[in-house]
Amino acid sequence: MDAEIEEPGEQRSGPALSAKGLTKRFGDRVAFQDVSFDIGYGEVFGFLGPNGAGKTTTVRTLGTLIAPTSGMATVTGIPLTPENGVRIRQRIAIMPEAPGLYLRLTVAENLECFAGLYALPDARQRIQRALQAVTLAGRANDLCGKLSKGLRQRVSLARALLNDADVLFLDEPTSGLDPVAAHEVHELIVGLRERGVTIFLTTHRLEEAERLCDRVALLNTTLRAIGRPDELREQLFARTLTVSTLAPLPEPSRAFDALPAVTGWRRDDQNDQNGAATYILTVSDAMIAAPAVTRALVAGGADVLSIAESHHSLEDVYLELINEDVEAERTASAPVVRKAAAP
């Protein structure tokens, strides 16, 4: 029984997190289904989805708190099995959405307890480092029950930093934080990525995911999309140029049809104002199309107000995919109207 404890960070080949067909059901209810991904070391991976999509259950499953119904996964190269629970938990840290602090204990006492639960040899220094990382070094002796929601959130983050985990699961880490504190957490995440820590970031703040994440996955019980934010945009939305002219073009097809990299166009009446006209051009490459469009319009004597490449945010991607699901659900649950039989 006196076997030596493995030091975290020994195995670093292969993905930090890998899931293949991972599924969790609670009786008849499917929490998440057929989830597959590989996440590398030092990657910030955004895990997005509406409430009830199965994000927290996925994190709990990968964190060995609950067992998957089917499928396979590895965490820091260790197969996700009940026997490997302790080994996996030594190498990961989870910051849950609710801080879950002992309110009658001070900040330092909370962290001391968790440093002990990880059996960390140099607990004091680690606690000091973690508190400095979340700029709470001056509040170590404050009772957690007397802290604001945002400060509790930062204590919870400090707790997740204690064991220098290889994989850090952060569930809404900036929820309840003011913009300055949120910015500091973002910088902390970037710093951790540079140190090779894998961050599994669950968030509803899409601009946060877009800014921080190397890749994102969109979960709505099943994995709806996975990739870099710009890849997802390209997959879902055609690249477009929005062209505004002072007056409608007399023959727009003549102006746009033969241009390089322009694959189609349409008039956008809804955005027309004060007699101006707006055209949406579908393009294969904006860098080629934009100058050509400008030259053609100027040569044709049009008064150009603006030419801009349309930008789709991660929020647009998210809404597009979730709306597809909502529509599909609506269609599936719509009552079937049967025609009355002819007399």
Binding site: A3, R60, L65, A93, L105, E109, E112
Partner: protein
């Protein structure tokens, strides 16, 4: 660090945390003071008021046995909070995400309830005996201060406390409300209190044979209790509320 040292470190961390929480929780401190006083009050009055002629009757029974109600009731209040309390304040999930093992967690929780119980119980016995010696009739004091009775007290206290603790932790793992868990756990200590009263009034004869039988039964029940609680402790159910 060896596995044994790691396990001890984790248990100590949890144990220290429990103590810090007890110290800062006035209701727990009050409970730990009031319950022993309630149990010791009537036997003490009875012993102090007893005439010297009652000494022979006291020698047949064991009035000290009533004090075993302290290890029967007191730890159930502390241990009843152990799991459901963590769950209610949202600290169970963060704790379960650490490498702490089920056995370490349960033992740390059990020890955190056992140690104050033993301290309170032994201090109350000592006070009871001191007061009896100082203020009771000498014949009564001599009847109460019997070596075998003291030995029973010292040996039975941890055995009874452990049984109460396992029952209370078992209830705590299945309950979703702290107050319900603590009340149920306290009620489960009452049969032990009843047996103690029956022994004190000589309905159950306080002989060495009976003591050995009861001690053996308690030891077996403690072992069974530990196994049942281990089986009841299901991380998934505790986290998600589903089985």
């Amino acid at each position: 660090m060896s596995m044994k040292n790691v396990a001890v470190t984790r248990m100590l961390a949890l144990y220290s945390k429990e103590f810090r929480e007890y110290r800062r929780n006035r209701s727990i401190v009050a409970t730990m003071a009031v319950i022993p006083l309630g149990i010791v009050f009537f036997p003490l009055i009875e012993v102090l008021a007893a005439p010297a002629s009652a000494a022979s009757a006291l020698l047949k029974g064991d009035p000290l046995v009533i004090l075993l109600g302290i290890p029967a009731i007191l730890p159930s209040i502390l241990a009843g909070y152990a799991i459901v309390g963590e769950r209610e304040q949202g600290t169970l999930e963060p704790m379960l995400t650490t490498p702490i093992q089920r056995s370490e967690l349960l033992l740390a929780k059990a020890l955190a309830a056992l140690v104050p119980t033993l301290a309170v119980a032994y201090v109350v016995y000592a006070l009871f005996l001191t007061i009896t010696r100082l203020f009771a009739q000498p014949a009564i004091a001599a009847a109460v201060l019997q070596g075998p009775d003291l030995l029973v007290q010292i040996l039975f206290t941890p055995l009874i406390a452990f049984l109460s603790i396992w029952v209370a932790i078992g209830i705590s793992t299945r309950s979703s409300d702290v107050r319900v868990a603590q009340q149920l756990a306290a009620i489960t200590g009452l049969p032990t209190l009843l047996v103690a009263y029956l022994a004190a009034f000589n309905v159950i004869p306080a002989t060495l044979g009976v003591a050995l039988v009861i001690a053996t039964a308690l030891l077996i029940l403690d072992g069974i209790g530990w196994r049942i609680v281990s089986a009841l402790f299901d991380r998934e159910r505790l986290i998600t509320g589903t089985s």
